[in-house]
């Protein structure tokens, strides 16, 4: 345990990047790793839990990783459900609350109010990260680490921008709340930005654009770049690489694997010009279907400390 100097809130690790690059699996792996080491971890996913449910069997977790199963929490924040909570808090009479929630006017108003759902999502995320027990004087925090399995890059940026938009185009309490959220989520002291990308041109381009936007608009730098699904050719030494020969008579599988690996290696060599952060490589594995040992192995490859 490493919190001799308790922070005012949980460290937020943000796994962000293009859709389909493995953010969710890596979030689970990172969460499992820290939870196994005795930290209290909450993973906030934008995927509905049943989808993750196929992945993590709680039963298996408590048998295989008893320490982790006590410390690991996974929540799915559905923006629509968050708004239901907001209404139910504001209107204590259930019948009236449900009339409002079921009225098409209210539903439409919510759908067309730009950034409203994102705003409530951020507010809830901040709440989760705050250490309520620490504030009330107790010694243990609610969570040491919050892992945000962020939505795909465009929506992730739009979510961060929502708080600022509220601050800009509104006045009054919502604007103040927006300013507060904006401060919280553009503070490098609270957040570690961990973009995830495979070594593919399109995903990398999107990652660079996202990193540029984060730095330009929110003064947030990247703390580490996670390269997912990398080929063994990328990490091979030059001497090993020299032993690889392919020509037209080579087996198609070998030709594909080597060419693919060399293309990845080329891309990898160019990354430092765009993102100076340290790189973490996770090898490409067969499809992860819920195998906890494999998840543990991915966590070991990731090896990202709680405080970067």
């Amino acid at each position: 345990m490493d919190h001799q100097a308790p922070q005012p809130q949980a460290r937020i690790l943000v796994l962000c990047g293009k859709g389909g690059v493995g953010k969710t699996t890596l979030s689970l792996a990172l969460g499992l790793r820290h939870a196994s080491q005795g930290r209290r971890v909450v993973i906030v996913s934008s995927h509905p839990l049943p989808e993750l449910g196929i992945a993590v069997s709680l039963d298996g977790l408590s048998r295989r990783f008893p320490e982790a199963s006590r410390n690991l929490f996974v929540v799915h924040l559905d923006p629509r459900e968050l708004l239901v909570e907001v209404v139910e808090r504001a209107v204590p009479v259930p019948l009236v609350a449900s009339t409002i929630l079921n009225s098409s006017i209210f539903q439409n108003l919510v759908e067309i109010s730009p950034g409203l759902k994102e705003f409530y999502f951020l507010a809830r995320l901040q709440q989760l990260a705050e250490r309520k027990r620490a504030i009330s004087g107790a010694s243990t925090p609610d969570y040491d680490i919050l892992i945000w399995d962020a939505p795909a890059s465009g929506h992730f940026l739009a979510t961060l921008r929502a708080a600022r938009a509220f601050e800009t185009y509104l006045t009054g309490p919502l604007a103040a709340a927006g300013a507060n959220l904006d401060r919280f989520f553009s503070s490098a002291a609270n957040m570690s930005i961990l973009p995830v990308s495979p070594l593919e041109e399109m995903a990398l381009t999107e990652t660079f654009e996202m990193a540029d936007a984060l730095s330009r608009e929110f003064q947030l730098g990247c703390d580490a770049l996670i390269l997912n699904s990398v080929s063994p050719v990328v990490t091979a030494s030059d001497a090993d690489l020299a032993t690889l020969h392919i020509d037209d008579s080579s087996a198609p599988a070998l030709r594909f694997a080597v060419n693919r690996g060399l293309a990845e290696r080329e891309l990898c060599a160019d990354i430092r010009h765009r993102i100076a952060a340290p790189q973490v490589s996770v090898p490409r594995i067969r499809h992860w279907d819920g195998d906890l040992d494999l998840l543990d192995q991915i966590g070991e490859w990731l090896n990202i400390p709680a405080a970067l």
Binding site: S103, I105, L109, E111, I112, T171, E201
Partner: protein
């Protein structure tokens, strides 16, 4: 005219499959157009859409081919701006374009991309394209393209928003019964819960935006009717081996609820070569071992997909991944030759 709508989550190569389909169709001698939202730089270059160009005719790889291939980039903000200028009353367009809500609507309104795609399909139909291939946003919810126009119309063109939106307190005081007391209560409550400012800004915006939404909804209804007609439109799901089972389950049920058949599931980016036996030693063995572990799981995934969905979905197609990202129309052609199309 026929339409193919490709659905799929991020990172499955949907844009390449859509562009390759348009190429394959063009080769049959018709005018074919692919509408895409977010192509990679390579694909943009291949389609001639780099450097701010949003629509382009693409030369076919074989000069003997008779058809036409076109590509268009869907720029949500630009399409919306155009609609505002086209349909707003004089003097109103600028008020809309300058409204603080407008600045965020194009980027943060869910489904805006799909709505604008519908708008674009209508324009293309009028321009005489025979085949339109739509590459939807990388979202599990892109098929809401079929639900959205109704929501938009409901909201923006209804008399309630028009009247109540601008001066609902005044209207309430005058007692205009046509609006209905309950609607006003809901607005008052919404202000309480969501904040006075937000609700007023939003209502103020829609009170000037509604004529555009109205014009839009009328045209959208026509297009949505075409999208709902299986004789005109085919929906296809693009996925990868890793995501195949999950995506198939999700899309068959989500589209099934709306009574839309899925024309085909396209499993893209599959590694299908068999590794030589026995594996050689050294680095080549490492690389092949790595390849064949992934390849075996891909083949297993395709097999499970066919077992589970083979009877329900008439057409399951598997495309092998290219060694390098698609580069140029010639490379797109490699993919185009693997695709089977319904017409």
């Amino acid at each position: 005219m026929k339409i193919i709508v490709y659905l799929g989550t991020g990172g499955v190569g949907k844009t390449s499959v859509a562009a390759a389909s348009a190429l394959a169709l063009a080769r049959t001698g018709v005018r074919s157009m692919v509408i895409t939202t977010d192509p990679s730089l390579r694909l943009r270059t291949a389609l001639g859409l780099a450097d701010g160009i949003t629509e382009q005719q693409v030369p076919l790889p074989d000069s003997e081919d008779a058809g036409e291939l076109w590509a268009a980039l869907l720029d949500v903000r630009a399409t919306l701006d155009e609609a505002v200028r086209l349909y707003a009353r004089a003097g109103m367009a600028q008020r809309i374009l300058d409204h603080p809500i407008y600045a965020t609507i194009a980027s943060s309104l869910v489904g805006m991309q799909e709505l604008m795609a519908v708008e674009r399909i209508d324009q293309l139909r009028l321009r005489g394209f025979d085949r339109i291939i739509v590459d939807t946003a990388p979202s599990r919810h892109a098929f809401e393209i079929l639900d959205k126009p109704a929501l938009f119309a409901d909201l923006s063109s209804s008399r309630k928003v028009k009247l109540v939106g601008r001066t609902y307190k005044l209207v309430s005081a005058l007692g205009l019964q046509s609006i209905g007391r309950s609607a006003i209560d809901i607005y008052a409550k919404a202000e309480e819960i969501l904040g006075v400012n937000l609700v007023r800004q939003v209502l103020d915006f829609y009170s000037i935006f509604y004529p555009i939404a109205e014009g839009y909804s009328r045209r959208a209804e026509r297009t949505v009717a075409m999208l709902r007609d299986p004789a005109v439109t085919e929906f296809r799901v693009v996925t990868t081996p890793q995501k195949a089972m999950r995506d198939a389950a999700f899309f068959t049920s989500a589209l099934g609820e709306r009574n839309f058949p899925i024309g085909a599931i396209c499993v893209n980016r599959a590694w299908l070569h068999a590794a030589p036996e026995p594996l050689p030693g050294g680095m080549a063995g490492d690389v092949l071992g790595w390849y064949s572990a992934v390849s075996e799981s891909h083949r297993a995934a395709v097999w499970s997909l066919k077992e589970a969905y083979g009877t329900q979905v008439r057409d399951i197609q598997v495309f092998s991944e290219l060694e390098r990202d698609v580069d140029g129309v010639a490379a797109l052609d490699v993919l185009a030759r693997q695709i089977h199309l319904p017409f």
